[in-house]
Subunit: 274 residues, 2 copies
């Protein structure tokens, strides 16, 4: 049976698509939003679903620029192949709702070329992140006046203390760590490369722990590198804003599968909370 996420990112290729341009019909599903705006990782995943289909391969490095808010309702993803190689394919795409473009996306698709190669360097999960079961249930906190649907679609766990900002006790450090899983995920389900794109943008912004008044944090650009295929189980993650200046913030993420393998890295540039 398809998961709720698979259904919410399903796309259908129009039969009149050709090799130079594939057009997919889909929908920005209701309930994957933060305060009425579709989550940025979710709309990236929706576009990536179409791009991966056209590429015949999963995303390896993908970048989205956010140009207008995604809202519940039909959308179209137009995919243009930039270069299709033996091992990798580069694809450009635009996701639009009516005349309004929501995101422009550029990505290279393919499997890591040597999945069994020696790991010469990696980043380990935070030593102080408890197991999924021992972490705190993430509050269904909405940074805006409007309730957010996304938290209800997910099973999120947080390193104890990281939600202090919600009780006027920010940690003082722009960081959050925790666990990501889908609400309908079973123990033997894995999160695939498309699911990792959502995981890369599903936690609350770590800048909230820097003592900033929480608010809407508009993402300008999000890049995700998928580095390995997760084993079954939830995804551990750490997000941190190391550069908060000039009215902009970076947000870097590292994501690990339940065996502790680094499966993705993300970085976004966003505007300060407003």
């Amino acid at each position: 049976m398809a998961s709720a996420f698979e259904m919410a990112t399903a796309v259908a290729r129009r039969p009149d698509s050709d090799d130079s341009r594939s057009v997919y019909d889909g929908a920005v599903a209701e309930g994957w939003d933060i305060g009425d705006v579709a989550n940025g990782g979710y709309v990236m995943a929706l576009a990536a679903r179409a791009m991966a289909d056209a590429a015949g391969r999963p995303p390896l490095s993908i970048t989205a620029h956010y140009v207008s808010p995604g809202r519940g309702g039909p959308c179209v993803v137009e995919v243009e192949p930039v270069r299709v190689g033996r091992r990798m394919a580069t694809m450009s795409a635009r996701l639009a709702q009516g005349d309004r473009e929501v995101i422009r996306v550029l990505g290279t698709f393919g499997e890591p070329p040597e999945p069994g190669a020696a790991v010469l360097a990696t980043v380990a999960p935070p030593a102080d992140l408890p197991s999924f079961d021992e972490s705190s249930v993430m509050a269904r906190f909405s940074p805006t006046a409007t309730p957010s649907g996304l938290p209800h679609r997910l099973k999120m766990r947080i390193r104890p203390g990281d939600e202090g900002f919600a009780f006027e006790q920010p940690t003082g450090r722009a960081e959050v760590a925790g666990w990501f899983a889908f609400a309908d995920q079973d123990d033997n389900d894995s999160i695939d490369a498309i699911g990792l794109l959502l995981a890369a943008d599903a936690f609350f912004p770590p800048v909230f722990n820097a003592g900033i008044t929480p608010g809407w944090v508009p993402t300008l650009e999000l890049t995700v590198h998928v580095r390995a295929t997760p084993v079954p189980g939830p995804i551990a993650a750490r997000f941190h804003s190391d550069v908060i200046a000039g009215g902009l913030l970076s947000e870097d993420g590292e994501l690990w599968d339940s065996a502790g393998t680094l499966v993705a890295q993300s970085r976004q540039l966003a505007l300060m909370p407003r």
Copy 2:
């Protein structure tokens, strides 16, 4: 007088360009190469020059996917506006030589929205990076059998010890720090946002210090966030590959102006040296 870099990235907008598509003529200049292939930061800068002209603003976040090698000779940059807003403009571009596309680029252009805002978090230059004058002159080392032109265009300085790999004494840590300046740069010259794109890819790959046999490191994707406008002087930088696995490596960079302000962050995904 225009600098060598300005001349090597000069583009001319065709008079028949219109608002929906601007076409620029330029050339991949000789001598900005690593072993006969134009440097990835240089070709990104060339595309960005055209995109910034069309946007009327400098790059803020820019991503290039590398689909074929840039070679000395004419090129065309086709720029398509994705969204032009009041403060920011998102642009897509392709740089091609004849029928062959070299890079596809996606970027958002604009100044940081609050340049004078308080710095709530930042990353400091490495404490053990000596001043420009006290650092080592970077060897004009070429990782390939063919000589590289790029090092002759630049004044590069390296943290002493970081070039150990060239003498079979790698530091064992995939990191390099140093200074970047153009060869024709005077003390009162500044490096602008376009120059930072080159600086983000001008050092030797830090993976060489992980004990890997140096070789050609093909970049799949490079993203640069420009975070501030540099004051006059050279650029300090640190590059590090924290995840080397699956036949791929990440390379993260932080760049500072001579006053110690973080002016850019970069990240690329590349194939292992071959």
